[in-house]
């Protein structure tokens, strides 16, 4: 009983701490990466006893600053919704990671423990549902602030979210059809198969179009540049215009956490999750016959490391996109979602279905 409880706690704690710590680190990564891309030095002033550590203390300094700032509430605001909005926003972003597997199974005290916080048969739909509920935080913030710019931001967020959500849902259907399961663990296991004996059946190889559509719609769903019309700091400032202190910080954190969830989901669906090509439970087995036997614990560690590494790479690419493209106009973003991504995703489903039927049940 106690061991089971401990295992459950460990599974949740790993995911929670991973997401929270990476989210804090992302604030630094974002500033430094943009600085390098724009040939600047970037944040490097925060120091403890003269140690600057490449500006790594900036997230700490920012957090302290936000926690000690005045918590301002506009006079006409709806108090309850105004206070609730950042919490709702960050809550749904944080719980969304729960069903994403970060490794295969681990043997602990005679039990086989799947390495994900929660084992769900509808894991894909769960992540998707939590991401789509997050928009309520933004809409509540926009409406309750009693500020027309905030309201505009909230409305834009709602419209953007719906158009992106439908494209996301339609684009992951192809992957679900190939693996015949909505369980993320099954989908990642299925990507361990080798096509023609040498090519790993990762989603990006079997569903290249779906990958592009998913990442595009995913960036829109997380409201990041080039789809940051709900914020648009140069035109309307956005749904969080009236927020200050840590409540504002929670909206920033939501952005970071949603980026991590998006990276984790694209890794699991399209980049093989924790799979390393040619690495099986007993060790490496290469298509040309060679092999290296490895102890199970090392294999598990390698796989968890592979998952973390892939998530980091996807986040890096997402940040590259963020600092490269200019913002879409509101109507352009809408048109891209409804007339670009959605029809292509439907076409992808039809083609995948035809190929699977011709292949003979995949």
């Amino acid at each position: 009983m106690l061991i089971d409880l401990g295992i459950a706690f460990g599974r949740v704690a790993f995911v929670m701490l991973f997401v929270l710590n990476v989210a804090a680190l992302l604030g630094w990564v974002e500033r430094k990466q943009s600085a390098i891309m724009q040939d600047r030095i970037g944040a490097n002033r925060a120091s403890i006893f003269g140690i600057r550590a490449l500006g790594l203390f900036h997230p700490l300094a920012d957090t302290l600053k936000m926690l000690t700032k005045e918590d301002f509430r506009p006079a006409g605001a709806d108090r309850l919704l105004f206070d609730l909005a950042p919490a709702v926003s960050v809550f749904f972003a944080l719980v969304a990671f729960a069903s994403i597997p970060f490794g295969d199974t681990l043997q602990v005290a005679g039990r086989v423990v799947p390495l994900q916080a929660v084992t769900l048969n509808v894991g894909v739909l769960y992540v998707f549902a939590m991401l789509s509920l997050g928009v309520y935080g933004v809409m509540m913030a926009g409406w309750s602030s009693a500020n027309n710019y905030a309201l505009l931001g909230g409305q834009r967020a709602a419209a953007l979210m719906i158009s992106a959500e439908i494209a996301i849902g339609a684009s992951i259907m192809g992957v679900v059809m190939i693996h015949g399961s909505l369980n993320l663990m099954d989908i990642v296991r299925g990507q361990g198969h080798l096509l023609w004996g040498w090519l790993p059946a990762w989603g990006i190889i079997t569903q290249p179009l779906a990958f592009i559509l998913f990442v595009t719609a995913g960036i829109a769903a997380t409201k990041r540049i080039p789809f940051d019309t709900p914020e648009g700091e140069s035109e309307i400032i956005g749904y969080f215009v009236e927020y200050s202190g840590m409540k504002f910080g929670m909206f920033l954190m939501t952005d970071m956490v949603e980026t991590i969830v998006l990276a984790g989901l694209s890794t699991s669906l399209f980049l093989g999750g924790w799979q390393i090509p040619y690495l099986f439970a007993e060790g490496f087995k290469f298509p040309w016959g060679a092999g290296i036997a490895l102890p199970p614990l090392l294999v598990t560690l390698l796989q968890v490391g592979a998952f973390v590494g892939k998530v980091a790479v996807v986040i890096f690419v997402l940040m590259l996109i963020r600092w490269t493209l200019p913002r879409f106009r509101y109507d352009q973003a809408m048109r891209l979602g409804w007339l670009g991504l959605f029809p292509l995703a439907i076409a992808n489903i039809v083609v995948t279905g035809l190929v699977l039927a011709a292949w003979g049940n995949g």
């Binding site: 509808v122 769960y126 549902a129 789509s132 509920l133 309520y136 809409m139 009693a146 719906i162």
Partner: protein, 163 residues
Amino acid sequence: MAHVAFFAIGAIAVASALGLILRPNAIHGALFLVVNLGSVAALYLMLGAEFLAAAQVIVYAGAIMVLFVFAIMVLIPGKEETGPDPRRGARLVAVPVGALLLLLLAFVIVGRWNAPRGAVVPSGSAAAVGRLLFTSYLFPFELTSVLLLAAMVGVLLLARRRA
């Protein structure tokens, strides 16, 4: 344990439903409805209907209610409350009809209370739901899609006339 969770979630569902009809503020009402839909999804989850729960959250709480809240935000953009009910007369009809529904529900619940519990619980997985939809319930399923298509054509027609 399951009983405690059931009654706790049920209480949230009833409280949020009451909040929906009693709050004069439209946005508050809509958000209460979201809470209500979420707690009903939690009840589905407890019954093992995972797919139904996920679909409930994604379709109703995640998509339809976002549209509702969006529409309210556009039409009633301030904190103004909706004021006195413009159609008070409707309550004269609503009260007896609501009482009738309550009576009907009471009959169903009392009638089922001592009925033998179903030994075979149908699986609530996506595969089971999909198989049922495309075999036993194929005709109603296709009929629904025709209905949705008709609604979509209607929307297009209305939108074009306005423009």
